[in-house]
Subunit: 132 residues, 4 copies
Amino acid sequence: MAKTELLVVRVPFYDTDAMGVVHHASYLHYLENARIEWLRSQGLSYAKMQADKLHLPVVKINIRYKKPCRFDDVIVVAATPRLEGIRMIFDYEIKKQSGEVVLNAQTEHVLVDENLKMREPPTEIVQKIKGD
Amino acid sequence: MAKTELLVVRVPFYDTDAMGVVHHASYLHYLENARIEWLRSQGLSYAKMQADKLHLPVVKINIRYKKPCRFDDVIVVAATPRLEGIRMIFDYEIKKQSGEVVLNAQTEHVLVDENLKMREPPTEIVQKIKGD
Amino acid sequence: MAKTELLVVRVPFYDTDAMGVVHHASYLHYLENARIEWLRSQGLSYAKMQADKLHLPVVKINIRYKKPCRFDDVIVVAATPRLEGIRMIFDYEIKKQSGEVVLNAQTEHVLVDENLKMREPPTEIVQKIKGD
Amino acid sequence: MAKTELLVVRVPFYDTDAMGVVHHASYLHYLENARIEWLRSQGLSYAKMQADKLHLPVVKINIRYKKPCRFDDVIVVAATPRLEGIRMIFDYEIKKQSGEVVLNAQTEHVLVDENLKMREPPTEIVQKIKGD
């Protein structure tokens, strides 16, 4: 089983909108950071992957927004990866410190090279995701 | 049947990322603009709704990304609403001028008042969505 | 004298913040778009410059914010370039439709290649800026 | 003398652009966070100020960009406030871990109420800025 990475985010003012809450698109930034921190927690650097011309674009995203967040709220993003064939899937839950669920989400990724051609994930990543 | 609104977007440089393509979160901005333009095309102003303390937050979002876009690409966002009970659902397709599909998406919304309490959509909006 | 390019912007909802007005950082996006449209108005494509590995990064920026804008406001960005040695400077004024000045700004740019090394602006650009 | 607050930022992928570096507008977000952390370091909560209908909008900004940053760079934002009459001014320096200066900036602010009318800064803030 893959490890779940927890990322703490304090909601920045610039992520709010005129409704007084975090704009729905801003959460995608928090999910991206959580994925990158999961990789880092496994000794994998997304910056190094990029230097090696490997990218992990999002091909699918599902989000269910449950509770709004406001400026300065402290929230925790839990990210857990799994594999489906050559696709890497991350499941997320964002919670407030009170335990209230802010959203549940899922992103699906494929590994691509600099020409955006699909590649099989290297054994190292597969093993990390499987939790071996 | 509700009218489909077409919004033309020229991809701004600031929406690209270091992969050289539009960042996946930026598309949510294009979808939001397309929804707002659909409302306007029906004589409904989202600014006026907001002044009346009515908001239409996103409660669910699904996106399938099919082709990347680059800076200065001209793309067309098609947005079509429908109702499921009191929820308003928009279906989207983004295409390049070549006809290539960039992404398909769906957003689900509920109408809320200033306290973020759910409200039934007013008859005027229901009729517009039904295409009456 | 260089031509002034006018860019009309309808303020998107996602550019607002919890103060109910356009977030100050969003205006930099409008200025960027106005510069790119100035280039286009002169037959110069910033996308083509980028394909040719030439970039025009911002090295200096000054903004005086005078009036806030709100969601759905229609504003006009006026952008006028000039040269100071090898530096390209754009002067901007953003106005509401009422004529009220929203902000005045200035950005300074140098032309760089893919290694971010400074380059002299090509004669074509110099002539366009001088209005020859 | 006011205390200088240091904010450490790891550059997120979503803040980069197709030039491969941090987009110039993203730095305004880092400066905003640094201001808010300065307030917090003094026991002042910007969230509480907002709840009390007090805002601190940017009325002027100057930035000199010196070195580009890339995804995953760790940078330090130093923010130091001072007063000029009723205006609050923050001076910033952003440095890489190597000590290289990324940019120098200055933002000018006034305190406004919910109607965006100017207010004198309360004694508490004045004393904190003066370092009393």
